[in-house]
């Protein structure tokens, strides 16, 4: 897969993540189950979301079309 497609995929991934995170079903009031170990749902889901977003940003940064370009001085 070429870098441009990876870059577009990472952007799409972030949009999908926003839709998954910020909706009334995921953020149902009082939703504690299912737990991950001792962590209530909204907490472990929040941790996982942040890690995924970080991963997508790293992917996007590496695959960005200009990531390996040289630039002129400011």
């Amino acid at each position: 897969m070429n870098r441009k497609r990876l870059w577009l995929l990472s952007g799409l991934g972030v949009i999908v993540m926003i839709a998954i995170i910020y909706n009334p079903w995921t953020l149902s009031p009082g939703k504690i189950e299912p737990k991950l170990g001792v962590l209530p749902f909204h907490l472990w889901f929040g941790f996982l979301s942040m890690l995924i977003l970080l991963g997508l940003t790293a992917l996007g940064a590496y695959s960005h079309p200009t990531h390996h370009n040289n630039e002129e001085d400011l």
Partner: protein, 461 residues
Amino acid sequence: MIEWLMVLGPIYVLVLATLAWRSRDANQSEKEFLLGNAKLGLMVGLLTTAASLFSTFTLQGMPDFFRQHGVASWIFLAVADGVMIFVIVWFAFYLRRKVSQKGFRGVGPLLNECYRTPWAGRMYFLGIFVFLIPYVSIQIKGITIFLTAVFPDFMPTWAWGLLIIGIMLLYSETGGLKAIIFADVIQAVVLLTVVWIIAVVCLDKMGGVSEMLQQVERQNAALLSSPGPKGLLGPQFLFASMLAIAFVPITQPHITTRLVIMKSIKETHRMAIGIGVFAILVILPTLFIGFYGAINYADLSTPDFLSQVLLFDQLPWVAALAVIGLLAAAISTSDSQLFAMGTEFRGLFAEGISRMTMTRLAIVFFAVCALAFSQIASDELALLAISGFSGTAILGPMILVAILTDRPPAKWMIIATGVGLICFLGSQFGLIPKALLGMNLNWLIVTILGGIAFFAASRND
């Protein structure tokens, strides 16, 4: 604690003074003073941006937010930061490309070049003045609450505020952006160290993560889910807050400037990833501190809770370090924002041989305004911060359409932005409802302006 503070405090001030003096010697030009050396490497760029982003709002506001609103506070800030760092990667390319075409004397002047009218920069400046002054003021308020608790009856809060503003102005006016950046590096390290030391102490007293969560569940189970006991952190509020935070690199001049002066686009991308890691490292401990407060100090006021957990429940040297850490956090964010406003002022309004003098006076004026506002601002640091971010987010569509398009956008975009700012201000003073048509007003305004921006881009002047 006082003895430790007498040792650590002067050391910290001495370090700031040394950095400022050394930066002053190296300053060769006005551009050096206002933009540093414009070639920030990864670590310096990361730490200065992190220090500017993560302020007293993090070390004081977030523990209290976790204490009052529970686990969804992580989604409120950390997850929103996760979206923000992707925005940095995306936006930095277009920003740097535009800067290479038109030069950079500040975001306002850049907007003037893009729109080909001085009103774009003026609207931008109005927005950042109205919404960043309160944000700077809560930095001051946060630390003065603390210092008053440490030294009761020693000085009134306004005098503490004056002292902090004085320290800030002294080294920023002496050394310029370079001094601020060097100070930021130290302050980021201090902030991260202090917050983790306090968090580990709190976690130890609670008996570990598992025991902490069980105690929280027994104390107040509503803290373990959205929207929290006070019903604040529901989907709409969290989404609107995420938008406000995601727009920070676009609308807040002190962050935008740092994207411009990074050495290369590659370093900027790496810096964004670093910011994400830093966010996790600095917000996670505030969760532990906040839940410690929820278990032990659920009924205390915000200032009393913070004084108790950050000072009186810690070893003396840790408490002294906490004061230094808070001071560092407040100063690192405030100086960056005040300096950025001064730079914008210089680029937009100060012409002629007295430009630097006017810039310096403008910075002093903004600092005084922030000090004055801090005396009347509420203790809800996190909510005030989000109001500030939400207000500046309204500038986002106007800025984006200028940066992303090659030809001048339609000038009525500036007017539309002004109307949006007025509406949002009206909602803050209770003149307009904070929700309309079932939608958060800020979210609604940004969405409408986004639609208008689409047409403004296609109908170039």
